[in-house]
């Protein structure tokens, strides 16, 4: 494995005391001196700045780009208005998911934001599946996220106009000559923004945000606990090439127009399986899990129907401690139809510990719709 690549803000992370770890091929801050717990709570209370420049920013251009992209995603791309963003799933032929992503209609092009660990594989799928379109991964832009209830106030003071944006709006803004591409979205369950900024101005922009007393730098550790509380799947754990969108309980992301009976039903890789699962139910489904007691149930913990059963019926795909919940939380896969309140048993270091199936999310989102 080659050495992790440094991101544009590497010097700033070092100055802030970030503990760097390899992630998705990049050197990324997992936490700062405040620690995961404080960082997490600060985002829920005020505002936090995340460097997510490892993610792929991909521009699609060409006639019929939206219609063509519907050939790879089971979502309504054509109907997305200019200046709006939507969640999408890049599909595999057997109905599993190659990656999850955001896509935005920016007028003369579509902008996709994809997971850092998957972006090169995604590019191959996009290029092969979108002949005749220009598919370009941008390398001159950093990506930051400002998340939390005070994100609006802080960013509006620097970039007037962002307060008027609604959840999932996208717009361009000028900041000291820098062309910012801003969306009102995030991966924390809080109101906030994701900001694409040219590399040359990225550090100055990040420093200007951090100059606010309300803004703290946040590492990958708190990013994971925040998204877990928000019930959002992490690609590679809760969502994989073997898991369909319906199994992942992401059916809401497949609009009616792409479902059986819709005007543009099907027509994406794996449509047979996905549409059948929408109509008849999948075998398993992603649910929330609340372990009793204080012991976290982490990824890989097997779930059993009783404390003596020998065959597992499910598995934990993400788990840890939820700082805002104040207790261990997890998500995982159980047989479809397992109702909320069902008590299962997780095998933690050889002990069968009770865990209750629960609805997601653990923390209600506070988006500005």
């Amino acid at each position: 494995m080659s050495d992790p690549i440094s991101l544009p803000l590497a010097d700033l992370h070092a100055e802030l005391g970030g503990k760097m770890v390899p992630f998705a091929g990049y050197s990324m801050p997992v936490q700062y001196p405040a620690g995961v717990m404080s960082e997490h709570l600060h985002v829920r209370d005020k505002a936090g700045l995340f460097d997510v420049s490892h993610m792929g920013q991909v521009v699609l251009r060409g006639d019929g780009a939206a219609r063509a992209l519907e050939g790879l995603l089971p979502v309504n791309v054509v109907g997305l208005a200019e200046g709006r963003q939507r969640y999408g799933l890049l599909m595999l032929p057997d109905g599993g998911v190659a990656d999850d992503l955001m896509f935005a209609n920016r007028g003369d092009h579509l902008l996709l934001v994809v997971n850092g660990a998957m972006k090169h594989a995604d590019m191959e799928i996009l290029r092969a599946g979108l002949p005749g379109l220009s598919v370009e991964m941008l390398d001159g832009r950093a990506l930051l996220a400002l998340q939390g209830p005070l994100a609006e106030t802080v960013l509006e003071a620097m970039v007037p106009g962002v307060a008027a944006m609604k959840f999932m709006d996208v717009r361009s803004f000028d900041w000291n000559g820098a062309d910012l591409w801003i969306s009102r979205s995030g991966y924390t369950g809080e109101d906030g923004y994701e900001i694409s900024v040219p590399v040359a101005q990225a550090e100055a922009f990040a420093r200007a945000l951090l100059a606010s007393d309300d803004v703290m730098p946040i590492g990958l550790g708190a990013r994971d606990s925040l998204r877990l509380e928000a019930g959002m799947p992490l690609y590679g754990q809760d969502l994989t090439a073997d898991i369909s969108p319906v199994e992942a309980d992401l059916g809401w992301a497949i609009q009616k127009i792409r479902r059986t009976g819709g005007d543009r039903a099907g027509g994406f890789p794996g449509a047979d399986r996905v549409l059948a699962e929408l109509d008849n139910g999948p075998k398993r489904r992603r649910v929330g899990l609340l372990p009793e007691g204080r012991a976290p149930m982490r990824m890989g913990v097997m779930l059993y129907g009783s404390d003596t059963a020998t065959a597992p019926i499910g598995t934990v795909t993400s788990g840890g401690f939820g700082p805002s919940v104040g207790a261990p939380i997890a998500m995982g896969y159980v047989p479809d139809g397992t109702v909320t309140g069902t008590v299962l048993y997780g095998d933690v270091r050889g002990k069968r510990l009770p865990v209750t199936v629960t609805d997601l999310p653990f923390h209600q989102p506070r988006y500005k719709r």
């Binding site: 997992v30 620690g35 995961v36 976290p296 982490r298 401690f321």
Partner: protein
């Protein structure tokens, strides 16, 4: 006070040895959210995993520093795991007696431990 290379501290009071983890180890672990303690009366061997500590980041083990028997555990940690981060030198995990007290003579003292962690 004696220290192990596994970042444990040991304090011997007339043959009853109190064991905890160092402040350095607590900082490395991050916020501790769960501690699984051994049973009182449990016979343990040096190197055996007898405590599980879960932080917000990951699970880690504490190994028994000596052969012997657990005589007391700090139940306060089960209810308030964050005590480890507040003051690691006060947040003891368990007390034990040992059949090999002479092994403590070979362990690091405070200066030796500071050198070990490069402080």
């Amino acid at each position: 006070m004696k220290y192990t290379e596994d970042h444990e501290w040991l304090e011997d009071n007339d043959g009853v040895i109190t064991v905890g983890i160092t402040g350095h180890a607590a900082t490395q672990l991050g916020d501790v959210v769960f501690v699984d303690l051994p049973e009182v009366g449990q016979t343990v061997s040096k190197g055996e995993e007898i405590v599980v500590i879960e932080s917000v980041k990951a699970a880690s083990d504490i190994l028994s520093p000596l052969d012997g028997e657990i005589v007391e555990v700090n139940d306060a940690l089960a209810d308030t795991p964050g005590l480890v981060n507040d003051d690691a030198e006060a947040a003891w995990f368990f007390r034990m007696t040992t059949t090999t007290p002479e092994e403590m003579d070979g362990m690091m003292d405070e200066d030796g431990y500071k050198e070990f962690i490069g402080d």
